[in-house]
Symmetry: C2
Subunit: 254 residues, 2 copies
């Protein structure tokens, strides 16, 4: 299903592959290693990398190529395409109800959630959300919340492709059927729960940010330790999360 269309602009595709490969490397990589990993001729990789260095996207040092700061422009532009992130920060700065919890903002990309921002609490959580980080949507609170508000067809298409036999923890929702049953609960209460499905002992409550058409554009969630997440607390905090998501939805423009 990958290259059925006739290959156009292979250099552009390889540019992406090279940047992706460098993203998952902790050290600079040489031409040969990159070429091997992305399955392309050395000389082609060499030409592209030199072009990217000239463009200021990559740095070259003695031991190979590495990412440059140029790509921060692109992500900054992406995060600023709407007022979502700035409104998220503003509302958390003003509304003190979630002050002692870690709060995240994320959006859905296929079967993953992408974290757009994170306001850490002073209390340690044992888990760090980073901007740009991706997690399986089906196990995360915001992912569950957003998946609950897309059309049944879309959700079915996404869930059908999930590899259910690679759970994150013993608590991870086990299959499509259980997820569909949960969806009814999340919709009814207006927020979704991840009870240790991403990380053992971490509980997250997520709510969707819906556009005027009722479709999710993003989601917010709060994270806490299992010890903090007593049921009555969950209900109270879940309601707050849902309310804040609704306020964000109203302020959200374009």
């Amino acid at each position: 299903m990958s290259t059925q269309v006739k290959r156009r602009a292979p250099a552009a595709q390889r540019t992406v592959l090279i940047l992706d490969r460098l993203s998952t490397s902790s050290k600079p990589l040489g031409v040969s290693e990159i070429a091997r990993d992305i399955d392309a001729p050395k000389s082609s990789v060499y030409g592209i990398c030199e072009t990217l260095v000239a463009a200021g996207v990559l740095h070259f040092e003695a031991d190979g190529y590495s990412l440059g700061s140029h790509c921060l422009r692109w992500s900054a532009a992406y995060l600023n395409r709407s007022s979502l992130v700035s409104e998220f920060r503003r509302i958390l700065a003003v509304d003190g109800r979630l002050a002692s919890y870690t709060v995240t903002l994320s959006e859905l990309d296929k079967d993953q959630v992408v974290y757009l921002d994170c306001r850490n609490s002073d209390k340690p959580l044992g888990f760090t959300f980073q901007v740009g980080m991706r997690l399986p949507a089906v196990y995360s609170a915001t992912g569950k919340a957003m998946l609950s508000y897309i059309s049944d067809e879309e959700r079915h298409e996404i869930l059908s492709a999930v590899l259910w036999d690679a759970p994150f923890t013993a608590n991870s929702v086990p299959n499509h059927k259980k997820f569909d049953a949960d969806v009814k609960v999340w919709r009814a209460q207006g927020y979704a729960v991840d009870n240790g499905e991403i990380r053992e002992g971490m509980v997250c409550l997520g709510a969707p940010i819906l556009n005027p058409q009722g479709l999710p554009v993003a989601g917010i969630a709060i994270s806490m330790t299992g010890a903090e997440a007593r049921l009555e607390i969950q209900k109270e905090l879940g309601t707050i999360v849902r309310d804040i998501a609704n306020v964000l939805a109203q302020r959200y423009t374009s």
Copy 2:
């Protein structure tokens, strides 16, 4: 001085140009507009954009192409290439001396500073630093601090290319000569000052984070309003900024 080397992998270069162009647009752009702006044939731009959509880097909607969240991977990887950002956050969370000020972390890229992180204060500053944001190094506090610690040749090369006739404010350092005189002061006191050179009424104090070889890898700065920046306060806070930068330098690895 741009395309003296023989053009290799034009599609890779155009990929960068397209992403850059979309970064500076508030709305999606069509093939024709992009092609006009980056001075490339429509059909080539079309091929590259379709490839980038297939790669998940761009989104396509009715009114044109726009950036996708894929590029967040690259910037997240860039920010995590060292422990700099995480140590910056940790030290600010523990050390309360700068709690009521906006503190930024940035690095030098040619003649610009690139902001890597920002810890906003509760007090409004009237200026927002965003990750990935770029400012002229010569006018910014961290830029001044870092430029003070590179070799004289390197600094001379960078400063010679600065367009001094496009100052940000009336306070912006006016020329190469004045900057060189300031460098001696910044080096002597261990921190640099931007007194309204980026924005009228905003004062920033910056210090370099030096590697074991004594070369700057990044810089930190605190920002405050002119009213807050009385001289004795500047001296006190400048010393704190310098000390924190030194602690960061010690913790900084790889």
